[in-house]
Amino acid sequence: MEIFLNRYRNLTVLLVVLVAQLLLLAFQVKSNGDVRLIRVWAVTGVMPLARVVEAVRANTTGFFSEYLVLLDVKEENKRLKSSLGSLKMENQFLKTELATADRARALAAFQSRSPSRTIAARIIGTGTGANSKVVFLDRGSNAGVGKGMAVVTPDGIVGKVISSYPSASQVILITDPTFAAGVISQKSRVHGTLKGQGHSICLIEYIQNEEQVAVGEWFYTSGDDRVFPKGLPVGQVKIARSGKMFFKEVFLVPSGLQQGLEEVLVVLEGVHQTIPDSPETPQTLHLLPAPPPDPNAAGQHGVLSGNLSTDADQMLEKYKRTGAAQGHVFGQAGNKPPNFNLPPDSGSVQPPDGKAAVPANPPLR
């Protein structure tokens, strides 16, 4: 045995190490288990160094002198940063709301919602591996960052936190193929689902071919996904075309990722709801409450609840309103025949031409 071990020591060690890692892999892949402990060690070991490097870089290059100055007064910095973030988002929200809806309603809607509470964070590293769409932030669970929180910049959404460690957190970017978020178009308020594609352009799914989406149109978060607060910019449509079966193919350039990522906001928001802890999943997932209903939204309900319709329904509706506008009861004898060429909502029975001016018919019998 000894001889064997000596002669094959190298090979044995290699095999043992390989088999151990294979088992580790198998455990994760087969049973969806996560070896969080190893990750925590690695992240807490490496990330402070990355933070130091980033601090040194920021120092020396002087790109972020404001940030530096604020570093000296840490508390002040934190407070200002988050209020700045809130203000930016508030500003953004107001801009979009005012651009689309009338002023009073936008203000009322805004008042009914508390502004998101955010925390500023820096990106201090990317995930290893060449086609990784994962980054690390310098804020972790110590700063209140939790799994499932949205990561945004005032320019647009960036991604969401998939795991948080005490002093750092991991974020998947919206370009990652596993990323998805609910979005809504600016003009026609069409709801869709944004999906990462692994490269710089994202796809929006589940928009019916019949809907109108224009190239260059902005998309905003819809809040449907319970991750991103409603009304944050997402990006501009680059390509919009009809798809093969039912859904349009809409491609969008995310606006949040355009000017190299350095600092971002993590949306903490007081209204986040936590799911009770359970022994199997120590991490809590943060879900936002459902977004307020959008009066302009179309197709929010299934067919049987009555929002999908065909031309036939619209035609019926149109004639009904035309008749109502003229006080005409269909199928009932009246002195004045209806004029179906009048616009349905005019509410006017003024004859547009000479026909209706003809005197009433003689009474029956």
């Binding site: 060690v13 890692q21 580790l24 892949v29 490496v46 490097v53």
Partner: protein, 171 residues
């Protein structure tokens, strides 16, 4: 033939390379930091596999397959921890790289610049290919393998490897 045999054996006898464990640890951490940090600013540098090059270097110089295996697996596992993949993918690949690098080091003059270049290139290719195989076989991912791209990045890595190894020699 005797000459070539001598050439093969010479390095084994002459330089018994010793690296302080602290230096090893620092260099490894620096390599990983490089990989997670630099691509933030220079995206194309994400293809520069510093952890791999460091693994290759240490394995070549230690000439101990066991050491190679341990170095490779440690660096690989840390790299895995910082990725979104299941832990063990880089670990397995780097373990193999460490083992083979340490094994071949007994046959080659690892101080020779040309040989370092070739080994750097070879191990990068080996690393990428094996990672691809693993991803297909174990994770069921169906990624394409872009051989040409890998060749180009292999050359890039090999080019970086030569001066890097030279610097590491000085430590």
């Amino acid at each position: 033939m005797t000459e070539s045999g001598d050439w093969l054996l010479r390095p084994r006898r002459k330089h018994q390379y010793r690296l302080r464990p602290v230096a090893l640890l620092l260099v490894a951490v620096a390599a990983i930091l490089f990989q997670i940090y630099v691509p933030l600013f220079f995206h194309y540098l994400s293809y520069l596999e510093m952890p791999l090059l460091v693994t290759v270097y240490f394995s070549l110089m230690r000439r101990e397959p066991v050491a190679g295996v341990l170095i490779g697996s440690s660096i690989g596992l840390v790299q895995d921890s910082l990725s979104h993949n299941p832990i063990g993918m880089f670990g397995i690949v780097k373990t193999l790289v460490g083992y083979f690098a340490a094994s071949v080091s007994q046959r080659f003059d690892v101080q020779n610049t040309g040989i370092r270049f070739l080994l750097g290139f070879f191990f990068f290719f080996f690393h990428q290919f094996f990672y691809w195989v693993l991803a297909n076989a174990l994770l069921g991912q169906t990624l394409g393998f872009d051989a040409l791209q890998t060749l180009v990045f292999g050359l890039l890595n090999a080019t970086v490897a030569v001066p890097l190894f030279h610097v590491l020699d000085k430590l």
